[in-house]
Symmetry: C2
Subunit: 111 residues, 2 copies
């Protein structure tokens, strides 16, 4: 593994890591559905301290997943990428496959 290739995987990992948290997934889903939300709305949705949500948003922004725009005292966030839905559908595939296997194992136990 040469230096350049390693850097590629590290860059990928940074983006993926930015998504690897329930609160940030909630935020991404909400933005995908509503297009734009202020920090206060997302705070209510996520249910943690606003400072925590602000940090989550900072991570998403730093990864290039969202963009922000200040209007008055409020800051509005929106998605910067359009492929997130296919991304999540792949994750759902994994989860569904896991569930199917689990059901299979349970069936074997019963038999």
């Amino acid at each position: 593994m040469n230096r350049k290739q390693l850097a590629k995987y590290e860059a990928r990992a940074r983006v993926i890591k930015a998504m690897a948290h329930p609160a940030r997934l909630i935020i991404l889903d909400e933005l995908a559905e509503h297009g734009e939300r202020c920090v206060c709305e997302l705070t209510e949705l996520v249910g943690t301290d606003m400072s925590t949500v602000s940090r989550h948003l900072s991570q998403l922004k730093h990864a290039g997943l969202v963009a922000d725009e200040k209007r008055g005292t409020m800051v509005f966030y929106r998605l910067r990428v359009k492929c997130l839905m296919s991304f999540f559908s792949c994750v759902e595939d994994v989860l569904e496959q896991n569930a199917a296997e689990h059901r299979e194992l349970v069936a074997l136990e019963i038999a």
Copy 2:
């Protein structure tokens, strides 16, 4: 956010978190390309201790992303999902977009 929805996002996060590490991305890419690899081959590729690679593989397996099969003294791992490539292409989209924006900013500085 009700309990059931939260559980959904937590499940998603677990799967995504399993991918959120350079070494694990290297492994996934290698398995996507070669179909099957033993721990020793992956260890050489990743370049860390075999015990570390074994733990990475354990995480991927627990997330349902890979399957393992023991043959003799060796354990072979392979992908359990087919959508990973579109997954990564989305990540690449993000990275390319980030790079484009960066180039734009640099151009503005020069102007």
